[in-house]
């Protein structure tokens, strides 16, 4: 028996593998900036132990970057008859179900790199802040089609709060 939670009956749709590039580049830039801070301070003031902090940060970011392909492959979603199912995470797994009638709005976001690769990010907003469902790495046309479909579905299953 496996301890890992799973919903075997669901046929997950995965996000585009190109999203790995977006995520990796994002983490490289962010990691360089964050590790540069202790490095610069160490160079100017000569405090030794800051080098250790910088090295630790670098290791954390390297591990994150190495694991990115697996993490992206773990993201999945499925549009069921009445709700959206979403999953993500390997170490910390999370499954969310959002009924269409509960969606208050659907956002499409595009970062500069994602736009260059033709990718979009779809965000669902309900009246609960904790819902937090964001599907990254969708092809632009898919995202727009998905959004229109979701809005139409939400409209037909509209409920109060």
């Amino acid at each position: 028996m496996t301890a890992r939670i799973d919903l075997p009956e669901v046929d997950w749709r995965r996000v585009s593998p190109r999203y790995i590039v977006v995520d990796v580049v994002g983490y490289i830039i962010f990691g360089l900036i964050v590790t540069a801070v202790p490095v610069v301070i160490a160079l100017t003031t000569g405090v030794r132990w800051l080098w250790i902090a910088a090295a630790a940060l670098a290791v954390v970011f390297l591990v994150t970057i190495v694991l990115t392909p697996r993490r992206v492959r773990a993201i999945g979603y499925q549009l069921r008859d009445d709700d959206v199912l979403f999953r993500k995470g390997i170490l910390y797994q999370r499954f969310v179900s959002v009924p269409y009638g509960r969606m208050q709005l659907v956002d499409i976001n595009r970062g500069p790199l994602a736009r260059a690769l033709g990718l979009s990010e779809l965000k669902f907003v309900t009246a609960a802040a904790a819902t937090g469902v964001v599907i990254p790495g969708l092809a632009e046309a898919d995202a727009e089609e998905l959004r229109d479909r979701l809005v139409a579905l939400a409209e037909s299953r509209r409920a109060g709060l």
Binding site: A3, L7, D83, L85, Q93, P99, R102, A130, T131, G160
Partner: protein, 529 residues
Amino acid sequence: MTPERSQAVTDGQAFTDGEWHRLHPLTPLLRGGIAFIAILGFVLYNLRDIGIEILVGGEGGQPDPLIWLYESGYFWLAVLGVLVALVVVIVGYYLSWRMNTFRITDEVVEVRSGILFRRNRKGRLDRIQGINIARPFFARLFGAARLEVNVAGQDANIKLDYLGSTAADQLRVDILRLASGTRRAEAAAAAGVAEKNATDADGRPIARSAAASQLIETRMNEFLAPELDPGLAPPESVVTMHLGRLIGSLLLSGFSIFVLAFIGGIIWGVTATGSLIFLVGLLPALIGTSGYYISRFTRSLRYSIAGTPDGVRIGFGLLSTSNETLPPGRIHSVQVNQPLLWRKAGWWEIKVNRASTSSAQGAAGQQNTTILPVGNLDDVHKVLALVLPDLTDEASAALLHSGIVSRGGDDGFTNSPRRSRVYLWFSWRRNGFAMLPGAVLLRQGVIWRQLTIVPQARMQSVALQQGPVFRRLRLATVKLHTVAGPIVPSLGAVDSLQAEQFFRDVAAAAIRSSSIDTSHRWRSGEAPA
């Protein structure tokens, strides 16, 4: 008295006819003009002294700026300036009152205000999350009340301050009736009945031209009348607040422990160092804590809760009162909990999550979400029956009861497995969930006992989570997402297979319940009378 107001008192339909109306004529005074009058009085009082001094002859008093002004020759200019300022302020107040109008149609409630910067706020009646009538002490003396219509969201209140006290009560009934989805003709008929009751309840027809003594008497009756208008709600509050219990619950709070620790710290400081410098902090702390206790006490005194056809009505307050109606289906989750210190006494507290925030409540919005400040188990069941009317059948009530007090075991709940005891040392037997038709129950804690009830039709989404520690233990966490509030419904350490099944069930139930839910128009299903 303006024609609108006197009309509103005699004719209940006046406010809901879709026309624009004005607020109570004393509004500017009640909103803050009091301070202005106090300042004016202070200045006049001083002027009188100076006048006497000038006429009788000064007795060598110290040089006064006003006397200097009088002698300097600019005196009449200054007097003119003061008069102009006075006129401007009075005209400003008058205009702001003139420009502040509201109307209530079949669909919306709308308020316009502002002299230079106009502001228009419109709220849809079927989106109402609650109606609150607050009577601050001072406004109460003048027989005025503030009516606040809450819709979902932060700062999403439509305030009508101030209205005549009786008119406000009547208007609430009318708005709720319009919001409930009954047809207009019916509403008119029903409103007529309610209006009759309202005047009957007051004991006498409210004639504004009556003798002054009668006016004062009416005011006194209004002031002393029970919070719930007997004509509009069942006369009895289902829960009575005992004085001893209220005081006890305040003393047995976490805050009291903090106060005791603080006093202990000061005593230790004084005895250990021998210097009295530590006493300096005592006075402000004393004022602060007594203020806290007194405000909690007077707010919770005369607490009442009662069911009406248009929702649950909760009243609070001794001097400043507030009285709120929550229409059906506006409660997003309910939590019954028991702080450790209350255990011996068998007291409980009930909180709710709701989509709106009412500004009327002041300190930390506390009373706004606490619908039962303290009560015994009996009170808890009565209040739960009011706020969750669908869960009043015997089986549900039994399950709720075991959810509140049971120590765990085979009692209708699916509890955490034995292996979770490394994570939940004491409460693993009790930590569990159950499904009722229409609601999900989460039971937690054996020391701090709590039961969270989430109506399925109000659930926004549901999540299933698992981290590395729980994975080793084959456990998982289930979270139910509702609107923001003091309650975060979440249950950890559930057997992972059971959690998966629970997630599926809850997701399906949420869809099913919300598709058949009609509570935003709670009377629309009723057959027309």
